[in-house]
């Protein structure tokens, strides 16, 4: 099995390095094909590993070599394939295989075709390290690695100012979280003496709760950055400047879920600190609602999907925070499938619309792009959580978990969000594929994507539909590692009321969206309607003014402070050094006239020196002579 582990891990690296060889050459179709094949190999190996684990095989744990060892610290490159990591590996390799294939078509005309595959495969490699590592340091390698690849891919079209800006924003914002994560890792090391999961987690049981709390908080802040939780969320929407396959793979299916993975991986820690867990769940619920609300009014197709991703990540954190780790992981998996599908579909639309992103400029595309429309609709249904698609099973489980744990506020928030989700998803679908053909106004002639792209997407389509059916098998497997927290409502009736109620609520939301955006003429927002002038609308459209606030209160002051500090450096720190040097020089300059060259003056200096010495001598002589008397006087004065 170790061989498959290494294949799964290193095939993407080989792919990346292979593609990198051609970065500076013109587009080569085979680069994409080879890369896809290699990623597919990784997928195949992951599947074999999965079947091994499913078949009740032992956890595969290897230690490749030492990385860092000094003092008591010992960090190897160790990899583990257990139930959790194999799930993640499956998700990662599957989605990336599809995205690779899809990209061959999507990036067809791009100059940076080869470079794209180098970055994309590198990302897969980093992600594999992240999920397969058997210690925190390895996790951190992957963690930073995906950040780097995300930077490279968001800023892939580096001639675009916004793209590079977004890339840097993403990187820096993640770095803030990474700092906390690093501190969390230090805490783990100094308290448990190791960074290996299998040593560190058992050792935590004996630690004092406040230490654990800090550990949990810092690690979670790390997770917040990668998973774009409030307040570190702004980068995700901006990251949509990257090519769409990137958004599908990185900013929907895999990287952003790394935070969830971390919490799941650290379940033994978070089980010990339920308060932090509750905080995570509450934040998750908040983000779910918060992001969904922003998606309601946005006019950018990809951003809408991005906010939806954000919102779904909130769901995952709700589950993970409440201790339903397997549910979180399940939702993560299901979400990966339909969200990737949705993004890839959006990519097709973008291609067709010549990179137009505003759904108000689309409409009626169904006729031109039937397959895409079907895929996106199904993905949206799955996202909305309609039975029997994937989203239903996972989301329902989260709702149940919240309910059973008696966190009714969280429950109602995420229930409400589910309605919002349905609304904005279908608002998007409706505006793109139905209603008037507004694109004609702009003289665009849309066309369906390449066939092989659509075929490539089809596994996702299938999984988005059937993933729910796998729930049982999955549950059996995963509980081999994660806590077996099943949520059963006490009464059958409540369960049915809840389930059906939710379904009805969601369905109503979908219908409303269709009614408003498909079956009635869409009023393109032009700033005149009453709604558009309402406070809420503006608030949502401007993303709660948070990016503005960051710009105004963090970025600008940072710039100004930096400039000011530079001034300080030159005019205070450096100037004082020069000043000291100048004191000597200036003194020299000002006193050199003592050397007037006039013999008379020279003689006077000599005599003056002698006289000065003499008077000193006299003073001293007198003092010595009358020292007794002086002492008496001084003591009389009380000195």
């Amino acid at each position: 099995m170790e061989l498959y582990l290494y294949i799964a891990l290193f095939a993407p690296l080989v792919s990346s390095m292979f593609s990198a060889l051609f970065t500076n050459t013109p587009k080569k179709q085979f680069v994409g094909i080879v890369a896809s094949l290699l990623i597919f190999t990784a997928f195949g190996s992951s599947t074999i590993l999965l079947s091994h684990i499913l078949g009740g095989g032992d956890i595969v744990h290897v230690e490749m070599m030492t990385w860092m060892a000094t003092g008591n610290l010992y960090i190897p490159f160790g990899f583990v394939v257990d139930q959790v990591s194999v799930t993640m590996m499956m998700v990662v390799t599957l989605v990336s295989t599809i995205v690779h294939i899809y990209s061959i078509g999507y990036m067809d005309h791009d100059k940076g075709f080869n470079r794209f595959f180098a970055w994309l495969s590198a990302f897969v490699f980093s992600m594999m390290i992240l999920v397969m590592s058997d210690n925190f340091a390895g996790l951190f390698i992957g963690w930073e690695g995906v950040g780097l690849c995300s930077w490279g891919l968001i800023g892939f079209w580096f001639h675009k100012e916004v793209a590079t800006w977004a890339a840097n924003e993403a990187f820096i914002m993640n770095r803030i979280a990474d700092l906390a994560m690093l501190i969390g890792i230090f805490l783990v090391y100094w308290n448990t003496g190791s960074l290996q999961y299998d040593i560190a987690f058992p050792a935590m049981a004996t630690l004092d709760p406040s230490t654990l709390t800090w550990m949990g908080i810092f690690l979670f802040i790390g997770a917040m950055g990668k998973s774009a939780q409030f307040p570190l969320h702004t980068w995700l929407a901006d990251a949509m400047e990257g090519p769409t396959p990137v958004s599908a793979l990185i900013h929907a299916a895999t990287m952003v879920t790394a935070g969830v993975y971390l919490v799941i991986r650290s379940n033994e820690l978070y089980d010990l600190i339920p308060n932090v867990g509750l905080f995570i769940a509450s934040l998750g619920a908040f983000v779910a609602l918060f992001a969904a609300s922003m998606a309601l009014v946005n006019r950018d197709m990809k951003r809408i999907i991005a906010y939806s991703t954000l919102s779904q990540l909130g769901y995952m954190f709700v589950a993970a925070g409440l201790g339903a780790y397997w549910v979180a992981l399940f939702h993560l998996m299901a979400h990966a499938f339909f969200k990737a599908l949705l993004f890839l579909g959006a990519g097709n639309v973008m291609h067709a619309m010549h990179d137009e992103l505003d759904p108000f400029k689309m409409g009626g595309l169904y006729k031109k792009m039937k397959w895409t429309a079907i895929m996106m609709t199904i993905a949206s249904i799955a996202l909305a959580g309609i039975f029997p698609l994937a989203g239903f099973f996972s989301k329902d489980a989260i709702l149940e978990a919240a309910f059973v744990e008696h966190h009714f506020i969280i429950y109602s928030v995420i229930l409400f969000t589910a309605g919002l989700t349905a609304f904005y998803s279908f608002r998007l679908v409706a505006m793109i594929f139905h209603g008037e053909e507004r694109y004609k106004l702009f003289g665009i002639d849309p066309h369906e994507a390449y066939k092989f792209m659509l075929v490539g997407m089809s596994p996702l389509l299938i999984l988005a539909i059937i993933a729910g059916a796998l729930k049982g098998t999955y549950f059996e497997m995963i509980t081999g590692l994660l806590p077996n927290t099943e949520y059963h409502l006490h009464s059958e009736l409540t369960y049915w009321i809840m389930t059906i109620g939710t379904q009805v609520f969601v369905a109503l939301a979908i219908m409303y969206a269709y009614k408003k955006y498909a079956f009635s003429p869409v009023s393109v927002p032009d700033g005149t309607s009453k709604m558009e002038n309402s406070f809420m609308y503006k608030l949502l459209l401007n993303q709660y003014y948070i990016p503005y606030a960051y710009e105004e209160y963090i970025v600008k002051p940072y710039n100004e402070l930096s400039a000011a500090l530079w001034k300080v450096d030159q005019n205070v720190v450096d100037a004082s050094v020069d000043g000291i040097a100048n004191i000597f020089y200036k003194t020299g300059e000002n006193t050199r006239h003592m050397q007037s060259g006039n013999l008379s003056t020279m003689l006077k200096w000599m005599v003056a020196g002698t006289v000065a010495l003499l008077s000193l001598a006299v003073v001293f002589g007198l003092a010595a002579r009358y020292s007794g008397e002086i002492r008496t006087i001084l003591s009389g004065l009380g000195v």
Binding site: M68, G71, F158, N168, S562, L565
Partner: protein, 516 residues
């Protein structure tokens, strides 16, 4: 020959430098490269012959110089100095190979060879005065390099560099004389031998004063805030080769000296000053990172980033435990490689455009993709991307210091954020966006000569990032003995507590690790 390999390493370049006067101008570069290559091969041989299991000094040489005053020519290397020596040999070679400025190339190469002598001398000297001799002597070639081949403000910059460092080291010299005197008082024999000094336990009050005296010398060299202002000038004005050597090797003299002198000689004072120095380091890290962000000249960005990174090194050193000190020694090497490479890279574009202002560039990734790639790798190494050389050092340094103070480590950790800010924005300004300046449209990409210099650096950056053990292992052994020495020497309760006792425990642990 191995018995005298250190002397050979030190004086071979000097001798070759003197002989260099006879070489024809046209053949000078070939001569320089060959000499530097031989030297580098010798330094590799040193590594090869180095016994990793010995934590103490190896290849010791001992010659009486002024025995009546306790000055002897004593050399030796341990894991701490070994790699800096190799790095020095390596960078001299790379530097000469990549020389592009043909003005007075003969003088330049001879100067570089002399500089190499002083650098290797500093890192292998085990006698205070011999150390001081090379330490001071290293200023002269650098003064010349900056002053003769530098930019418009070169004379100001070089004189400032010289005098500032000179003044600082004179205070250090007084400290050394005191140290020797205390040794004399304790034993009745004059000695400047560092290993002798190690055996001397001083009362804490003496330690504090001596620590301060040494600190002035080292802090200016490092350079630590607020003594850092010579560095931007020196870097800003120096020719590429000067900046490379300065950043890669010369700055390491200060941090190396902290580990060689301050810590083992004054363990109590090190503990006493740990917090103030940590605060200075943090100021260095954050403050200079912000200043770097405000720069308009890309070389200044790299220069200030050096100061910022040196802050992390100092912090790791004053973690006073094995993890931190090993990390800081490793980071010295890492920073040497990375900042050296970055200065070389800046030199590449300077050679083409004769400007270093970032506003003059933009969109270079279109015209010089290879250059952009290498620059990108080095930039990422500089911001501490895992699996690059810098990360190992930074991680260990911060990890080490975390044991001493949580909150200060958190503040110091801001390095990874602010570091990313200035580096990424500089990279963005230079490489991203459209090509706006007409002059940039037809810039040639990196050529073979430059690649010969840069590719090895890239390889080292990644190799040691993935597999630091060959370097970290010897460092670790020597650092353990330093920490043990400090623990044994410490007199105050606090110091005993702060400096871990590594004896016994670790040896068994490494044994089990090997068994894995």
């Amino acid at each position: 020959m191995l018995d005298h390999i250190l002397s050979i390493l030190i004086f071979f370049p000097a001798l070759a430098g003197v002989m260099g006067f006879m070489i024809n101008k046209e053949s000078m570069r070939a001569y320089g490269v060959s000499v530097a290559f031989i030297e580098f091969a010798l330094s590799l041989w040193l590594w090869f012959a180095f016994d990793n299991n010995i934590s103490g000094m190896q290849f010791m040489e001992h010659l009486p110089l002024i025995p009546s005053f306790g000055i002897n020519y004593i050399l030796g290397v341990d894991g701490i100095s070994l790699f800096i020596i190799i790095l020095a040999a390596f960078f001299t070679m790379i530097g000469i190979a990549s020389l592009t400025d043909t003005k007075d190339v003969k003088n330049m190469i001879i100067t570089l060879l002399f500089l190499q002598m002083t650098m290797i001398g500093v890192f292998s000297a085990l006698d205070g005065i011999v150390f001081y001799v090379f330490w001071e002597l290293s200023l002269v070639p650098m003064l010349y390099i900056i002053g003769a081949w530098g930019g418009p403000l070169r004379i100001y910059a070089s004189v400032k560099f010289f005098l500032y460092t000179f003044a600082g080291s004179l205070v250090m010299l007084v400290g050394m004389l005191f140290m020797a005197y205390f040794f004399y008082q304790a034993t009745g024999v004059w000695s400047f031998a560092i290993l002798d000094w190690y055996r001397l336990i001083l009362p804490e009050s003496f330690q504090l004063w001596l620590f301060a005296a040494f600190f002035v010398g080292f802090a200016i060299k490092v350079p630590m805030f607020p003594f850092h202002t010579w560095l931007p000038y020196a870097h800003g004005q120096a020719p590429t080769i000067g900046s490379v050597i300065l950043a890669a090797i010369l700055l390491k003299m200060g941090t190396y000296a902290f580990i060689r002198f301050s810590l083992p000689l004054f363990p109590d004072a090190s503990v006493y000053f740990m917090y103030p120095i940590a605060v200075i380091s943090i100021i260095m890290i954050i403050y200079t990172a912000m200043v770097a962000y405000a720069q308009k000249d890309v070389k200044q960005v790299v220069a200030y980033s050096s100061v910022s990174h040196m802050g992390v090194i100092i912090l790791g050193t004053f973690a006073l435990n094995v993890e931190g000190i090993s990390g800081s020694v490793f980071l010295m090497i890492a920073h040497g490689v990375v900042s050296g490479a970055l200065f070389l890279l800046v030199g590449v574009i300077y050679d083409r455009r004769h400007t270093k202002l970032m506003s003059e560039f933009g969109g270079l990734a279109h015209v010089m993709p290879k250059y952009a790639t290498i620059f990108g790798i080095m930039m990422m190494a500089s911001v501490g991307m895992p699996l690059t050389i810098n990360f190992v050092g930074e991680f260990l340094s911060l990890l080490g210091f975390y044991q001493q103070s949580h909150i200060l480590t958190l503040l110091a950790g801001i390095a990874i954020v602010v570091g990313a800010i200035y580096m990424l924005s500089a990279y963005k300004k230079m490489f991203f966006g459209e090509v706006t300046k007409e002059e940039n449209r037809n810039l040639p990409d990196v050529n073979k000569r430059e690649l010969i210099a840069l590719i090895p650096l890239v390889l080292i950056t990644i190799w040691l990032g993935i597999y630091p053990k060959p370097v970290l292992g010897p460092i670790n052994n020597s650092v353990e003995s330093v920490v043990q020495l400090m623990h044994n020497k410490a007199t105050s309760e606090e110091a005993k507590m702060r400096i871990p006792n590594v004896s016994g425990v670790v040896i068994s642990k490494t044994a089990t690790k090997e068994a894995h």
